[in-house]
C-alpha cells in the first residue's frame, strides 16, 4: 500500500499544474461550503450570546427585529422613543424583577453613547452567563461619568480620567456638533466581551440630559428635521472620510452604512425619553404574560420582544439565503469533482503505456484501480485540508473587518459535526469519482495486456 501511495503521490507531482488546479477547485468549493456554515454558526452564537439574561426588550411600537437590533446589537436605530414616565410606570409592574433603561442617539467618534443606569452592568449577561466586568475603574454614577467598552478605550487610546465630548446623532462627524459644554470623564473601562458593548460608551441618563440641556442655541439645538447634521458638513469642511453630502442622506436609511442617522433628535423634543428598556421578569411564564400586556398597552404604543424568539425569526428569514448558499456550495463541489474526473480521465490515454509497464513488473489490475483511486482520493484530501485551512484562515483575517463593520464577532472554530459530515461526503465522492477512470484503466489494461495500441 505504501508503494502505491508513493506511486500515486509521485504521479500527481509529475502533473503539477492539473493537480494543483484540481486541489484548488476542491479547496475553494470546500471553503465556500464551510464558510457559509461557519458564518451561520458564528453569527448565531454571537447574536444569541450577546443578550443572555434579558427576558424582554421594550421600545416604541415598531418592527420587532428593528427594535432588537437597534437597542441591543447597535445595528440601525431603535424604533422610536418611550416617554420616561411610561418606563417608570412599567418598571413598577409586579412581574418585573429588574429593568434597565437605554437612551441611544448620540455617539462619540462613531461609537454609540448609551444613556443607562448602573443596573446595566449588574444585569447584562453574555454568552455562558458571563457578567460584565471592569478592566479598570468603576460604574457610572454622576452626570459627568462615562464607562467605555474595551474597543473604544483601545482604539481611541483612552484611559481613566480622559475627558471626552459627545456628538449628536449616531454617526456624527467627530468634532462637529459636539456637546462641548458638557464633557465626560472616563471612570471605568469594561473588559472585552466580544459583543457590541465593546464598541459603546455608557453614561447616566442624567448625563444625557445634562448634555442636551446645556446646549442652548448650539448647532443641534435648533428645531431639527431628518438630515439636520448635513449643514455643518460642507464640502471642504469635511474630513477626508466624509464625501460631500455623504452625511446628508438621512432620507435614505442605511445608505451611509449600518448605523444610519435616525431621524430622532428625541432629546431635544422630549428631554426625558428613552429608546428602549431591558426587562428581567420573575418567571418565564410572567415573561409571556408581560409581553402581551405591554404590546396591548393602550396609553402608549409599545413593542415588547423576547430576544430569543425574535432572533429565531431572523434565522428563519436568513434560512432561505443560507439554503441558497449551501446549494451553491454543493454545486461548486460537484463542478470541482467533475473537473477532477475530466483531468484524470483525459490523462489515462497518455498513461496506458505506464499501466502496461506496471502490469509487466507485476502489478495486478486491482493495483491499477487502487492507484487511480488513490490519486483522486489524495487530490480530494488535499483539497479538503486546504479548504479547511482557507476557511479558518479566512475567518481569522476577516474577523476584525466583520466585527468593525457589523459588530458581529465570529469566532474561528474548528469544523463542527455538520462540517465534518460535509468533508466526509466530499472525500467519499472524490474516491468514487476516481473509480470511473480506474474502471476504464482496469478494462483497458486487461485488453491491452503489455502492448497498448497507441
Amino acid at each position: 500500500m505504501r508503494v502505491l501511495f508513493n506511486l500515486a503521490w509521485r504521479s500527481l507531482r509529475n502533473r503539477p499544474v492539473t493537480s494543483i488546479l484540481t486541489v484548488l477547485a476542491v479547496a475553494l468549493s470546500i471553503t465556500l461550503l464551510l464558510g457559509v456554515e461557519q458564518a451561520r454558526r458564528g453569527m448565531r452564537e454571537s447574536f444569541t450570546g450577546t443578550i443572555k439574561g434579558t427576558d424582554l426588550v421594550v421600545g416604541a411600537r415598531g418592527g420587532t427585529l428593528q427594535l432588537l437590533l437597534g437597542a441591543v446589537f447597535g445595528i440601525g436605530s431603535p424604533t422610536g422613543s418611550v416617554p420616561y414616565g411610561v418606563y417608570e410606570q412599567w418598571a413598577k409592574h409586579p412581574a418585573i424583577r429588574w429593568t434597565v433603561p437605554l437612551a441611544i442617539g448620540d455617539s462619540h467618534r462613531g461609537y454609540r453613547v448609551i444613556g443607562t443606569t448602573p443596573g446595566l452592568f449588574e444585569h447584562w449577561r453574555y454568552r455562558s452567563a458571563g457578567t460584565l466586568t471592569f478592566a479598570e475603574g468603576k460604574v457610572i454614577a454622576t452626570a459627568r461619568d462615562v464607562v467605555l467598552g474595551s474597543d473604544v478605550a483601545e482604539k481611541l487610546r483612552y484611559a481613566l480620567g480622559s475627558e471626552i465630548t459627545v456628538g449628536h446623532g449616531l454617526n456624527a462627524v467627530a468634532g462637529l456638533g459636539d456637546h462641548e459644554s458638557h464633557p465626560f470623564v472616563v471612570v471605568g473601562i469594561l473588559k472585552q466581551t466580544f459583543t457590541p458593548l465593546d464598541r459603546a460608551l455608557f453614561v447616566t441618563l442624567d448625563g444625557i440630559e445634562a448634555m442636551h440641556g446645556d446646549e442652548g442655541a448650539g448647532p443641534g439645538g435648533a428645531p431639527t428635521m431628518p438630515g439636520a447634521e448635513a449643514p455643518p458638513v460642507m464640502p471642504g469642511a469635511s474630513p477626508p472620510t466624509a464625501m460631500p453630502g455623504a452625511s446628508a442622506p438621512s432620507v435614505m436609511p442605511g445608505a451611509s452604512g449600518p448605523a444610519y442617522t435616525p431621524p430622532s433628535n428625541i432629546f431635544q423634543d422630549q428631554p426625558k425619553a428613552l429608546s428602549a428598556f431591558l426587562v428581567g421578569t420573575k418567571t418565564r411564564f410572567e415573561t409571556l404574560r408581560l409581553q402581551r400586556e405591554i404590546n396591548q398597552f393602550k396609553a402608549e404604543p409599545l413593542t415588547a420582544v423576547i430576544p430569543g424568539v425574535t432572533l429565531a425569526e431572523l434565522w428563519r428569514t436568513l434560512g432561505t439565503v443560507e439554503g441558497g448558499l449551501r446549494l451553491v456550495g454543493a454545486l461548486t463541489i460537484i463542478v470541482g469533482l467533475i473537473g477532477m474526473l475530466v483531468s484524470l480521465y483525459s490523462s489515462l490515454e497518455a498513461r496506458r503505456r505506464e499501466m502496461a509497464v506496471l502490469r509487466a513488473v507485476g502489478a495486478r489490475p486491482g493495483m491499477i484501480v487502487s492507484l487511480l483511486v488513490l490519486e483522486s482520493g489524495l487530490l480530494t484530501l488535499l483539497g479538503c485540508v486546504l479548504g479547511v485551512g482557507m476557511t479558518m484562515g479566512g475567518f481569522a483575517i476577516a474577523q476584525g473587518v466583520i466585527e468593525s463593520r457589523t459588530g458581529v464577532h465570529i469566532a474561528v472554530q474548528a469544523p463542527g459535526t455538520l462540517e465534518w459530515l460535509y468533508i466526509g461526503v466530499v472525500l467519499s465522492a472524490g474516491v468514487l469519482v476516481g473509480l470511473v477512470p480506474a474502471w476504464r484503466a482496469y478494462r483497458s489494461s486487461l485488453a491491452d495486456g503489455l502492448s497498448p495500441r497507441l
Binding site: 506511486l7 513488473v361 507485476g362 495486478r364
Partner: protein, 237 residues
C-alpha cells in the same frame, strides 16, 4: 519428466490457440519447448503474433486452449491474480521502448518489482534491496544514472535501466520484446553484451524476440515464430 509437468523445461507449449475475443486466431502453436538456462532468439517479423505470444507467456493474456507451462506452472489453469503473482515473482520483462514509469527515478524504476511483490523481494535473500540495485546497476553500467529522473535518460540508458529492472532479484525467465530496435548499432551491441552476461550471472532463461534476424547468431537457440505459429502462416497465405 512427464509431458504435462515438465519441470525440466523453462517453457513448454502444447496445442496453444489464442484469439482476441471473437476475432481471428492469432496464435496456433502445436509444440514449443525451451530448456532452462538457455538463451533463445525468437525471430518474427511484425504481425506474426510475437507480442501476443509474449503476453501469454508473461501471464497477462489468458489462453484457454492447450497448455502453456512456464517454469512448471500451467498458465492456462491459473487465475488472473495467480498469473500476476507468478509474473511478479518469476519474470523480468523488457519492452521495445518506453519501459520506465516517467515520474520515478531510475533507482525507483529498478526497485519497483521488488517493492510491488514480496516474493520477488524474498528472492534477494539476505541481500538488501539497495545493495541488489547497486549491483545490477553496476553490471549494466548505469550506476551514475540511478538518481536521475527516467525522462532525463537517453533511449539507450532507459533500455539498460529496464534490463536492470528485469534482472533484479534473479528472475527465472527474462523476456525481451525488441529491446534493441530503438538503439543504433554500437549501442545495440553494447546492450546485448551486457544483457547476455547479466542473464548468465542470474542463471535465467532468456527469451529474446526481434524482427532482426541478424542478431540470432549471438544466441544458443534460434527459433522462427512464423514457422512455429500456424495462425501466422495461415494469415500470410
Amino acid at each position: 519428466m512427464t509431458a504435462s509437468g515438465r519441470p525440466g523445461s523453462a517453457i513448454a507449449i502444447e496445442s496453444l490457440q489464442f484469439s482476441y475475443g471473437t476475432g481471428p486466431r492469432v496464435i496456433d502453436i502445436p509444440h514449443l519447448e525451451i530448456a532452462p538456462g538457455s538463451r533463445v532468439f525468437l525471430h518474427g517479423p511484425s504481425g506474426c503474433g510475437k507480442t501476443t505470444l509474449l503476453g501469454i507467456l508473461a501471464g497477462v493474456l489468458h489462453a484457454t486452449h492447450g497448455s502453456v507451462h512456464v517454469l512448471g506452472h500451467d498458465l492456462v489453469r491459473l487465475s488472473g491474480s495467480q498469473r500476476d503473482a507468478f509474473r511478479a515473482e518469476h519474470i523480468g520483462y523488457v519492452f521495445q521502448q518506453f519501459n520506465l514509469i516517467p515520474y520515478l527515478s531510475a533507482y525507483d524504476n529498478i526497485a519497483l518489482p521488488c517493492r510491488l511483490d514480496a516474493r520477488r523481494r524474498a528472492r534477494l535473500g539476505s541481500v538488501s534491496l539497495d545493495a541488489a540495485i547497486r549491483d545490477v546497476a553496476s553490471q549494466l553500467d548505469i550506476s551514475a544514472l540511478l538518481d536521475q529522473q527516467s525522462t532525463a535518460l537517453s533511449v539507450g540508458q532507459q533500455q539498460r535501466v529496464a534490463a536492470a529492472r528485469a534482472l533484479l532479484a534473479a528472475p527465472d525467465l527474462v523476456i525481451c520484446d525488441e529491446p534493441t530496435s530503438s538503439l543504433d548499432t554500437d549501442r545495440r551491441d553494447a546492450f546485448l553484451a551486457l544483457l547476455a552476461s547479466s542473464v548468465a550471472r542470474a542463471n535465467a532463461t532468456l527469451l529474446f524476440v526481434s524482427h532482426d534476424a541478424a542478431l540470432g547468431s549471438r544466441f544458443d537457440v534460434q527459433l522462427s515464430l512464423p514457422t512455429l505459429n500456424r495462425a501466422a502462416r495461415a494469415d500470410a497465405a
